[in-house]
């Protein structure tokens, strides 16, 4: 193919792509077919199409799942997808996860730590304002974090900030966060969805009831579980917020979401029904975003309860699982196989350990080592945790049967699953939301004394490394420590981690984004509202 002909063709493709008629994937495929290398094609996409200057205007209508009439503005109770998405659209955080899954500034413009990582200093953005025009100051930042701390706090993020001993205000735009023990990850923790920045009252508490924040959009009308109408916060301190208005419509029924997208009632929807994904993707005006996430399925086994107290039994159960088939059949391919340690490929410090394969001989071997010829266990699950959870357990039990392992899948009631089954039954099905860093995840659910140590796993070396790595600011040494911890979790830990799920959401082709999507939450980490725009 001659050079000029190719350039002409690439230019035309770029034009089509800018109009939204060609997806990134299609563009890549055609460019490679035209003789470009994949990386050149990717670079071309970034420079020619994605950088096509976003433009302002329009009302972005989004159909969300998991919005409830009981959703409150209290950040301590944030739990539903509806709450988390609205929080990202209307309130801001000190730091953010960027579309490239790195850490970027939001309300704080810079941060630094003492060498022992025990005192963190955040320089706040001086241009940031709340929706009612008030300036955002260090006092607000301190009060917003303190809201989750202290004796009487009812916040679900209380344990996240348990190490914080004091928050000091230094002038109008600087805060120092002091920790009981060093933590290199504190700036990452500040992206947690509970830790929104709110206006402080005179007594040091925060004003959360009004729904006011310092985010890109302000609430004009809010009917929990029905609809929220937002308008651009003109004083927002950052680039972006291209849409004039946002309308968040709660569409809990998957069919209603898909129909609304197809008929043009909304421009984007969250959580596409996986069973009909292939049909939706065929629609000419719709683009599906299939984003690998750090959200994991775990099957914790209580390591202090027989038969799981024998590491050979745990290993046998890990080898008896055909992960690829679970991803293909339960997630319809929208996931990645897990490797029994809770660090996803998109997370920092991901160690690329050899993948554990489905190996019945090894499963039998470990069973024999445990002195057993047959193993009978019950695995509890409920479909409210993940649609298809019970099916997954049944499929897993079929995988394990030839090795002499009889797993009985038990369907538990959807109601009260988190209070009555999780942490109570010795072997159950759990789904975790994504956490930004390995330290965050391990401290929450794998540390020996963590309230949510769901597998009751006690490993001295692991816990020693966890504390060392927490305050280690040298990236290389830190990386090596996490690698060792993942190896321990993989071969000694009490959790079968069969897979990480993807976020699968869809949008009208008129809605454009940079081509990179944060994997922390749906819709570009809950930040599509200010990062995306309408093609002209």
């Amino acid at each position: 193919m001659s050079g000029s002909y190719r350039d002409e063709m690439l230019n035309r493709m770029a034009q089509e792509a800018r109009r939204g008629r060609l997806s990134r994937r299609e563009f890549m495929a055609y460019s490679v077919a035209a003789g470009l290398t994949a990386s050149a094609a990717s670079g071309l996409w970034t420079s020619k199409i994605a950088k096509a200057a976003p433009q302002k205007g329009g009302t972005f209508k989004v159909g969300l799942h998991d919005g409830n009439t009981s959703d409150s503005h209290d950040p301590g109770t944030y739990q539903s997808v509806g709450q988390i998405q609205i929080a990202h659209a209307t309130r801001s955080y000190l730091t953010e996860i960027t579309p490239e899954n790195g850490l970027g500034p939001d309300m704080a413009e810079a941060w630094s730590a003492t060498p022992d990582a025990r005192v963190w200093t955040f320089e706040l953005n001086k241009n940031a304002t709340f929706h009612d025009g008030r300036k955002f100051t260090a006092k607000d930042a301190a009060a917003s974090l303190n809201f989750h701390r202290g004796e009487s706090s009812t916040s679900a993020a209380k344990s996240l900030l348990a190490d914080v001993t004091d928050i000091k205000i230094d002038g109008d735009h600087t805060i120092h966060i002091e920790l009981g023990q060093g933590s290199a990850d504190l700036p990452w923790i500040m992206t947690d969805y509970h830790l929104v920045m709110l206006p402080a009252k005179d007594d040091g508490s925060v004003e959360w009831e009004s729904g006011i924040g310092a985010g890109p959009y302000k609430i004009e009308k809010h009917e929990p579980g029905v609809v929220s109408e937002l308008v651009r916060h003109e004083g927002w301190h950052r680039e972006g917020a291209y849409f004039d208005k946002i309308e968040i419509i709660v569409l809990n029924d998957p069919n209603a979401r898909q129909t609304a997208l197809v008929t043009g009632d909304v421009h984007a929807v969250t959580s596409v029904d996986l069973k009909t994904l292939a049909l939706l993707a065929r629609s000419p005006n719709i683009e599906v975003d299939n984003v690998p996430s750090g959200s994991a399925i775990t099957l914790p086994m209580h390591c202090d309860v027989a038969p799981f107290n024998d590491v050979n039994v745990r290993q046998a159960l890990k080898y008896a699982c055909n992960r690829q088939e679970l991803v293909d059949k339960i997630l319809f391919g929208t996931g990645t196989v897990g490797n029994d340690y809770h660090v996803s490929p998109g997370m920092p410090y991901y160690p690329d350990l050899p993948q554990r394969e489905y190996d019945l001989d090894k499963a039998k071997y470990h069973l024999k080592q445990a002195g057993l010829t047959e193993l009978n266990v019950e695995l509890s699950a409920a479909d409210s945790v993940l649609p298809g959870a019970v099916d997954m357990c049944v499929l897993y039990s079929e995988h394990a049967k030839p090795a002499g392992i009889n797993i009985k899948a038990v369907r538990e009631p959807n109601d009260g699953y988190w209070s009555d089954v999780w942490l109570k039954k010795p072997f159950c099905f759990v789904k975790w939301g994504a956490r930004p860093t390995p330290d965050n995840m391990f401290t929450l659910a794998y540390k020996d004394d963590a309230a949510w140590n769901e597998s009751h796993w006690q490993n001295e070396r692991f816990n020693e490394l966890l504390l060392l790595a927490k305050k280690e600011l040298d990236q290389e040494r830190r990386s090596a420590m996490y690698r060792e911890m993942c190896e321990l979790a993989k071969d000694d830990g009490g959790t079968v981690l069969p897979m990480f799920t993807n976020f699968v959401y869809a949008r009208d082709k008129s809605v454009q984004h940079s081509g990179n999507l944060a994997s922390s939450w749906e819709l570009d980490g809950g930040r599509g509202y200010h990062r995306w725009w309408f093609a002209s």
């Binding site: 409830n68 009439t69 009981s70 959703d71 409150s72 301590g76 109770t77 739990q79 004796e151 009487s152 706090s153 009812t154 916040s155 679900a156 993020a157 209380k158 344990s159 009917e223 929990p224 579980g225 029905v226 609809v227 419509i249 709660v250 569409l251 809990n252 029924d253 069919n255 209603a256 129909t259 609304a260 197809v262 008929t263 009632d265 009631p413 109601d415 009260g416 988190w418 209070s419 009555d420 999780w422 309230a451 949510w452």
Partner: protein
Amino acid sequence: MGDVLDIIVKRLALGAVTLLVISIIIFGMVELLPGDVAQAILGQGATAENLAALRARLGLGDPAIVRYFDWLGGAVLGDFGRSAVTDTPVGDLIGPRFANTLFLACYAAVIAVPLAITLGVIVALLRNTIFDRVANVATLTAISSPEFFLGYILILYLSVKTGYFPAIAKLSSDMTFLDLLHRTFLPALTMVLVVVAHMMRMTRAAIINLLASPYIEMARVKGMPAWKVIVKHALPNAWAPIINVIALNLAYLITGVVLVEFVFVYPGIGQLLVDSVTKRDFPIVQACCLIFAATFILLNLAADVLSILTNPRLRHKK
């Protein structure tokens, strides 16, 4: 007329007792559900510490019986309390949604009741013809299909494929009345399909039943046209059973809409009830259920009173 008033007063008093019993049953049921409102609010994020703090804030420490009588004390005076989750007064939460549900029920009833009675009269007139069979099969098929299925079929053919009507019944305050009727047509039509069969079949049966009576034969013999015999002579005597069935179906239009609301994303009371049960938000569950119960009680009362009024024989004791 004195008799009728007497009946109304007696029935209302009985209704109040029924509501009281129902409130006790609902309270018991919510108590029996696993988990409490604090656990439901915090979900996977619950720890022993923040659970205890939240329970204290919500006043869940008191024994069940004390909490019930606290609620009852307020309810008798017309104060149904505040939502345990969002701390909004129950009235503010339920009011607008109940109005939406009532609107949809009225919309459906205005179409369904005349349609069902007219169809009933026509099929009685043309009984055992092809028309009778087709009408019966069609309405019985509609009533036998689950509401969400009917809803999806209507969405597929009247919205996705043809675009005549919107698929989601999203309401906004700047809608004109015509917009509103257009937006909510599909959910209303679904409800109509669900209730028509019952009323139509009852009208048909009641009329056919009367057609064998001597006075109808007399009317026929004197040369009256068949449709006039039915409308003027048979129908007035058939009202009592028909009214009862209509009342039952009207009540269903209000209490049975949960699935239709879900499919069409209509912000009615059913969705609120489901959300509140999941969150164990007792004051709202209680208020919603009592509204449903009261609907049944009042509509049944209305049906009985109307049956008596339309039938002079019932008004005068022998």
